[in-house]
C-alpha cells in the first residue's frame, strides 16, 4: 500500500507540472503582448515596451516560466495588474468565501444524491428509476446559470422569499450569510445531484446482483437487513470517490454561480480578472482551482484505499 500511495503522489506531481504548463501557456504565451493588452490600442509603443519590461514579459519564455514557477513554490503568485498589489490575499479571501458556498451545497446534495441513487437502484428499470436517472442526468447538464435564473425568478422575484444577491454585506450575522447563500447553492446542488445519484445507483445495482447478496437473501435474512448490512456498505464505496472528485467541478461551477449572484468567491475573481485582462490573477486563480481539484482527487483515492479492505490488506496493485 505504501508503494501505491507513493506512486499516486508521484503521478499527482507530474499532473501538477503539466497543469502549470497549460496555465502558463494560456495566460502568458497565447495573449501575445500583455503590455499592449493592458494599455490598449492607443498607447505609444515605448509605453508598451516599458510595461512589458516591468512585467518581465520581454524575457525568453523558459526564463519567464522558471521565475513564475519558483515564485509559486515560494508562495509568490505574482502581482495583479488591476489592483497593482500581490495576488495572494485576494485568492485567499475568495477561496474562503467559495468554500463556504461549496460546503453548504455539499451538505445538501450528498444525502440527497445517495438516497436518490439507492431508491433508483432498488426500483431498477421501473418508473422511479427512470425518473430519477433522467432527471438527474438533465439536472447535471443544465448550466448553473440556467437553473440559477429559474430559482431567482421563482424564489427571489415571484415569491420574494429569499435575497437575490449572495453577498450579505460586511459584518452580517452568520444566519443572514446563510440565508443569502441558499439560492446560489441550489444550482450547484442540481449539477452535482446527477453525478452522485448515478454512482450510488450503479454501486447499489452491482451490490444487489452480487453473490454475497444472493447468499444473504437465501439464508433467510429480511430484505431490509440485506440492504442495510450487505448492499449499502459495499455500494457506497465508489460513491465516496465521486463525491470527493466533484469538489473540483463544484469550484469550477462557481465561476458561473458567483458571477450570477455577485458573490466574492474564486470564480467571480477569475471572471473579473479575465474581463480586466489581469493575467497574473487569472493564472493564480485557475491554478488554485486545479490544485484544489487535485488534492480532492488524491484524498478520494487514498480514502478509497483505506476504506477498501481488499486494497488495504496488501493486494494494492
Amino acid at each position: 500500500m505504501a508503494t501505491y500511495i507513493l506512486k499516486r503522489l508521484g503521478l499527482a506531481l507530474i499532473t501538477l507540472w503539466l497543469l502549470s504548463l497549460i496555465v502558463f501557456f494560456a495566460t502568458q504565451v497565447l495573449p501575445g503582448d500583455p503590455g499592449r493588452a493592458i494599455l490598449g490600442n492607443l498607447a505609444s509603443p515605448s509605453a508598451v515596451r516599458a510595461l512589458d519590461h516591468q512585467l518581465g514579459v520581454d524575457r525568453p519564455l523558459i526564463e519567464q516560466y522558471w521565475t513564475w514557477v519558483t515564485g509559486l513554490l515560494h508562495g509568490d503568485m505574482g502581482t495583479s495588474t488591476q489592483f497593482r498589489a500581490p495576488v495572494e490575499p485576494y485568492i485567499q479571501a475568495a477561496l474562503v468565501n467559495s468554500l463556504k458556498l461549496a460546503a453548504l451545497a455539499f451538505v445538501i446534495v450528498v444525502p440527497l444524491g445517495i438516497v436518490g441513487g439507492v431508491v433508483a437502484a432498488l426500483n431498477y428499470g421501473r418508473a422511479p428509476d427512470r425518473i430519477i436517472s433522467v432527471a438527474g442526468l438533465s439536472a447535471t447538464t443544465v448550466p448553473e446559470f440556467v437553473s440559477g435564473i429559474v430559482v431567482i425568478v421563482v424564489f427571489g422575484v415571484a415569491l420574494k422569499v429569499l435575497p437575490v444577491s449572495a453577498s450579505a454585506g460586511a459584518g452580517a450575522s452568520a444566519a443572514s450569510q446563510f440565508q443569502h447563500l441558499i439560492l446560489p447553492a441550489i444550482p450547484l446542488v442540481l449539477v452535482l445531484f446527477g453525478y452522485i445519484a448515478r454512482m450510488a445507483r450503479a454501486g447499489t445495482i452491482e451490490a444487489l446482483n452480487s453473490d454475497y447478496t444472493r447468499t444473504a437473501t437465501l439464508k433467510g435474512l429480511k430484505r431490509s437487513v440485506v440492504i442495510r448490512r450487505h448492499v449499502l456498505r459495499n455500494s457506497l464505496l465508489p460513491t465516496i470517490t465521486v463525491i470527493a472528485t466533484q469538489t473540483g467541478y463544484l469550484i469550477g461551477g462557481l465561476v458561473i454561480v458567483e458571477t450570477l449572484f455577485n458573490y466574492q468567491g474564486i470564480g467571480n475573481l477569475i471572471y473579473k480578472a479575465a474581463t480586466a485582462k489581469d493575467f497574473p490573477m487569472l493564472a493564480a486563480g485557475v491554478l488554485t482551482i486545479g490544485v484544489v481539484y487535485m488534492v480532492a482527487t488524491l484524498a478520494a483515492d487514498l480514502l478509497y484505499t483505506v476504506l477498501n479492505p481488499r486494497l488495504r490488506l496488501g493486494g494494492a496493485e
Partner: protein, 292 residues
C-alpha cells in the same frame, strides 16, 4: 422444474427476436427517444429556418416598446432595447447548435484517433496520453475553455477549436478502454498474423467495432459542449452581441431580473434547458439500446 426452465427460454426468444430488428427501429419504440428527438428536431429546424419562422426581425429595436411584458404582439415580451424576445429565442438556436456540433465533431474525430493509438500501440504513447488526460481533467471544462478563449480572444472558430481540443483527451480515454477490450479478440490476432499494418488494423479492423462507443461519446459530449458554450456566452466570452444567442441574451439581461423583467432571461434559459434535456433523452435511449 420444466416451468423454471420455460421462463428463461421465453426471454431468450424475445431477446433474439428483438436483436434482429435494426437499432433505429428499437430507438423508435422508446418514448424517451421520441420526445428527445422531437425537441432536438424542433431546435434544428429553428436553427436552419429561424429567420423565416420568427415573427419579427430579431435585431430590430423598438425604442418605444422596451421592457414590454409578454402579450399577443410579443409572445415572450421585448428586451431592454425593444427587441422581440420570441424571435431572438427562435433564431438563437443557430449559433449554439452550429458551434456545439462542430466542436464535438472535432473532439470526437481527434479523440478517436488518439484513443485508438493509445489503446492499440500502448507503451510510451499511452503513458504520455494518460498524463495529458489527467492534466486536462484537473480543470473543469468551463474553466479551461474560459482560460483559452480569454487568452486568444473570442470567436466561433476559437470556441470550436478550444472545446474540441479539450474533448480530445476525454474521448480518447473512453475509446482507449474500448480498444483494450478489442485487443483481446481473435480477429486482431489473425489480422496481425496476416501481416496487416498497424494503421490498417487500427482504422479498418478495430475502429468499426468501437463505433458504438464513439457514437455514445459524441452525444454525451454534445450535451457538455452546449453547457460550456452557453456558459461562455453568458460570461460574455462566447457569441458576441448583437447576434441572437441564448447565453449572451441571459448575460445581457439578468441584471434587470430584480426589477421584475423576468421574460428576457427566463425564455432563453428554458430554451437551453429544453435543448440539453432533449440531448440527454436521446443519449440515454441510444445507450439503453446499445446495452440491450
Amino acid at each position: 422444474m420444466t416451468e423454471v426452465v420455460a421462463a428463461p427460454a421465453a426471454e431468450v426468444t424475445v431477446a433474439h427476436g428483438r436483436g434482429e430488428l435494426p437499432p433505429w427501429r428499437l430507438l423508435l419504440r422508446r418514448p424517451t427517444f421520441i420526445v428527445g428527438a422531437a425537441i432536438l428536431l424542433f431546435w434544428v429546424v429553428c436553427a436552419v429556418f429561424g429567420h423565416a419562422i420568427a415573427p419579427h426581425d430579431p435585431l430590430a429595436q423598438q425604442l418605444l416598446a422596451t421592457n414590454k411584458a409578454p402579450s399577443g404582439a410579443h409572445w415572450f415580451g421585448t428586451d431592454q432595447i425593444g427587441r422581440d424576445v420570441f424571435s431572438r429565442v427562435i433564431v438563437g438556436a443557430r449559433s449554439i447548435l452550429v458551434i456545439a456540433f462542430f466542436a464535438t465533431l472535432l473532439g470526437t474525430v481527434a479523440g478517436t484517433a488518439l484513443g485508438l493509438a493509445m489503446g492499440y500501440l500502448g507503451g510510451a504513447v499511452d503513458m504520455v496520453g494518460g498524463r495529458i488526460v489527467e492534466a486536462v481533467l484537473a480543470l473543469p471544462l468551463v474553466v479551461v475553455a474560459f482560460l483559452f478563449v480569454v487568452a486568444v480572444g473570442s470567436s466561433p472558430l476559437t470556441i470550436i477549436i478550444v472545446i474540441g481540443l479539450v474533448f480530445t483527451p476525454l474521448i480518447a480515454r473512453t475509446v482507449r478502454s474500448a480498444v483494450l477490450v478489442e485487443r483481446q479478440q481473435d480477429y486482431l490476432a489473425s489480422a496481425r498474423l496476416l501481416g496487416e499494418t498497424r494503421g490498417h488494423i487500427m482504422f479498418v479492423e478495430v475502429l468499426p467495432n468501437v463505433l458504438p462507443v464513439v457514437l455514445v461519446e459524441f452525444t454525451v459530449r454534445l450535451g457538455y459542449a452546449i453547457f460550456a458554450i452557453a456558459s461562455l456566452s453568458f460570461l460574455g466570452f462566447g457569441v458576441q452581441p448583437p447576434t441572437p444567442d441564448w447565453g449572451a441574451d441571459i448575460g445581457a439581461n439578468y441584471g434587470v431580473l430584480p426589477a421584475g423583467y423576468w421574460w428576457m432571461t427566463l425564455f432563453p434559459a428554458l430554451a437551453i434547458a429544453s435543448l440539453v434535456i432533449a440531448i440527454n433523452l436521446v443519449t440515454d435511449s441510444i445507450e439503453q439500446v446499445l446495452a440491450s
